[in-house]
């Protein structure tokens, strides 16, 4: 238990170091940063994994039973997804931006996470694991897509205004960023669909107080609809570039609201802490 507490502090520090390393590699040309960033990311991910296992061992449940446990898993999923994207596309310049999101989630989690909360027995169902895991994977893919969308807009602005900062020099082309953002969105949408599907099967059975008017449920379904509309617009309306990117960013903003505002200010059967 003591080692879990220690890692709780160490993991966000490691994330900060990784983000700093990627930032130095992006904005300067210090070779050491360029060479060390991948290894450091790998070390961080391993430490994070160990942290998650230790928590599981110490508290006897998969850490998905409250918001701050979910956030640390979200951070892990984002960093892992980023690592895979980096290996696949060989574009290593966007790490600073994506991993910053992971750092934010992990820091919030480490600060607020409680050591041993009561766990609702309902949350021990295996279907829950499936439901939450796919929702989290969906959310992390959506976060990553938003980061690429944001980078797209920055680069778009830089190119148009002929202001050639580090962004212009180091980022891949607009088309690449758009397709990275779009692919991440597709992935996010697929996982979200799965989460919703499993949710509709499992939730009414597990909760007596289940209601279709639950704020979180409504928000999630509207996000899902929004993305559905986005995809139709892209394929049927041949929407391209900036418009699609802005749509992706709006989607992320609403996801973020769903994760925070709805959880904090609205109550429903869907809250577990």
């Amino acid at each position: 238990m003591a080692s879990a507490e220690f890692l709780k502090i160490l993991v966000p520090i490691l994330y900060a170091a990784v983000v700093a390393d990627y930032a130095v590699a992006f904005f300067t040309r210090i070779r050491y940063a360029e060479e060390s960033k991948r290894e450091l990311l790998l070390i961080t991910l391993v430490a994070h994994l160990v942290y998650l296992f230790l928590r599981y061992a110490a508290y006897g449940h998969v850490p998905i039973t409250n918001l701050f446990e979910v956030m640390t898993i979200l951070a892990f999923a984002i960093a892992l997804a980023y690592l895979m994207i980096e290996r696949m596309t060989r574009v290593t310049e966007t790490g600073f931006f994506v991993l910053s999101v992971a750092l934010v989630f992990q820091t919030i989690s480490s600060v607020f996470i409680k050591c041993c909360a009561e766990v609702n027995p309902v949350l021990r169902s295996p279907l829950l694991g499936f439901h939450v895991t796919s929702a989290l994977l969906g959310y992390s893919a959506i976060s990553i897509s938003a980061v690429y969308g944001f980078l797209y807009l920055m680069l778009y602005h830089d190119i148009r205004s002929t202001r050639f900062s580090a962004i212009y020099r180091r980022l891949p082309s607009l088309e690449v960023l758009e397709s990275m953002s779009f692919r991440a969105t597709i992935l996010g949408f697929a996982f979200l669909s799965l989460a919703i599907l499993v949710g509709f099967i499992w939730l009414p059975r597990a909760f007596e107080s289940f209601s279709y008017a639950d704020p979180k449920l409504l928000v999630t379904v509207s996000i899902w609809l929004l993305y559905g509309i986005g995809f139709s617009a892209r394929t049927i309306g041949r929407w391209q570039g900036r418009r699609v990117v802005i749509l992706a960013l709006c989607g992320f903003a609403i996801v973020f609201l769903s994760m925070t505002v709805v959880n904090v200010f609205f109550s429903g059967f869907h809250n577990f802490y």
């Binding site: 070779r31 190119i159 020099r169 088309e175």
Partner: protein, 424 residues
């Protein structure tokens, strides 16, 4: 000991009239290398480009047998109107430093020139082929090539386009992922237009469409670069099929109105449209800049880019100088490690260390009165083992060329793991 000498004629020291006379073709370089070898230089290499001709040569001290490199060059190539001040000479460390500066592009006419590195590589390859690059030059040129590569990857010396047509191509590659799938429309097949189209083709733009008032000229260009021709009047209707539009029409009045572009972008489903306006007066209505997904650049914007990039490159020079110093220190550390007496010292110390350790570990097995004898005996064995090799090494120094000695010392250090030949 090896004495390195370099002679350089470059854009700073001599006018083009002199530089073009001393320029050497690859075949001439081979010939010159053979002659230099006969002159008594143990190793040599020659670099010749449109901006510079340089000879690097190494001879054994204390008696350099060859004539000075300047005499050699003037004899090899009959040069009219050359004065001694058109040639710069460098010696030892200065010559090595000069080569590293050249390879890293900071001595070039356009700071950070990319081509020079492959030209240095070519000079080295020619010398290798003629067997005039031996142990010492291999190390020297590998250091130079590595310095060039490091300068490019660790500083911004080669970053940013420094010509207008390259600036245009660079912008295109920041907007589009795969230029091979893109279509470029060239309006006006003049000289500037042709140059830009050539660059775009060079960077792999998939389809080229040319429109020109005189259709024959457009067809001529297409024959050279590949692609297709459309009528000049058909341009507005075909605009939406192009991803990249280059205009260089020398005529008053606008060639493309903002409304044309607006329509084209709409038909493209908001796909980005990249327009380079090289015309003076401008061919494209500047108001088009405000249309979303239109990236419009005129000649002034591109020139500003080029100027900014050049200034940025110049600001990177100190960083490159530090890199060069770094590599020079490594090179000379290596060189001095190949001298004979410190190597003998190091070898003795390494053997003595092993002896001391073994004796220390086992001394207790011997009777007290024998211990001094064991110490003496082992010392004597070590000395006897080392005697013959060290005598041969020392004698070899006097008779053999310096390069051979260095090679031998290098092997010796490597065999016995004596270190200080880093960067292997």
């Amino acid at each position: 000991m090896i004495q390195l000498t370099a002679l350089s004629v470059n854009h700073r020291t001599a006018p083009i009239e002199v530089r073009e006379q001393v320029w050497l073709s690859d075949e001439e370089i081979r010939q010159a290398l053979r002659e230099l070898k006969q002159e008594g230089f143990s190793e040599c290499a020659i670099l010749s480009t449109c901006n510079r001709t340089e000879i690097y040569a190494a001879a054994d001290l204390p008696s350099p047998q060859g004539r000075p490199l300047l005499d050699f060059l003037l004899h090899f190539k009959a040069v009219d109107g050359a004065r001694p001040e058109h040639f710069a000479s460098f010696f030892t460390c200065g010559a090595a430093k000069h080569l590293l500066r050249v390879a890293s592009g900071i001595d070039s006419m356009v700071t950070g020139d990319i081509q020079i590195l492959s030209q240095v590589k070519n000079a080295y390859d020619l010398a290798t082929a003629e067997k005039t690059a031996g142990f010492y030059f291999s190390r020297l040129f590998q250091t130079a090539l590595r310095t060039g590569k490091r300068a490019r990857s660790e500083s911004g010396i080669g970053e940013g386009a420094v010509s207008v047509s390259y600036a245009a191509v660079e912008l295109a590659s920041k907007i589009f992922a795969d230029l091979g799938k893109k279509t470029a429309l060239l309006i006006g097949a003049g000289e500037t237009g042709e140059l830009t189209a050539t660059h775009l083709r060079g960077r792999g733009v998939g389809t080229l469409v040319v429109a020109n008032r005189t259709r024959a000229r457009a067809e001529e260009l297409v024959a050279k670069l590949g692609g297709s021709v459309i009528d000049y009047d058909a341009v507005p209707a075909a605009l939406h099929t192009a991803d990249i539009v280059v205009t260089s029409v020398a005529a008053p009045g606008r060639v493309l109105a903002a409304s044309d572009l607006h329509k084209a972008v709409k038909r493209r489903g908001a796909n980005p449209l990249f327009i380079i306006d090289l015309g003076v007066p401008r061919n494209v209505d500047p108001a088009a800049k405000r249309i979303g997904n239109v990236f419009l650049y005129d000649i002034d914007a591109l020139n500003t880019m080029v100027d900014k990039n050049l200034a940025k490159r110049l600001a990177e020079v100190p960083k490159v100088e530090r890199l060069i110093l770094d590599e020079l220190v490594a090179f000379y550390t290596w060189e001095s490690s190949l001298q004979v007496s410190p190597t003998i010292q190091a070898l003795r110390e390494s053997f003595e260390e092993i002896r001391r350790q073994e004796v220390g570990e086992n001394i207790n097995r011997f009777a007290k009165e024998d211990r001094e004898l064991v110490d003496m005996l082992t010392k004597r064995i070590i000395n006897k083992i080392l005697h013959q090799p060290l005598v041969n090494l020392k004698n070899g120094t006097k008779e053999d060329p310096a390069e051979e000695t260095m090679h031998r010392v290098h092997t010796l250090r490597h065999l016995f793991g004596l270190g200080s030949h880093s960067h292997e």
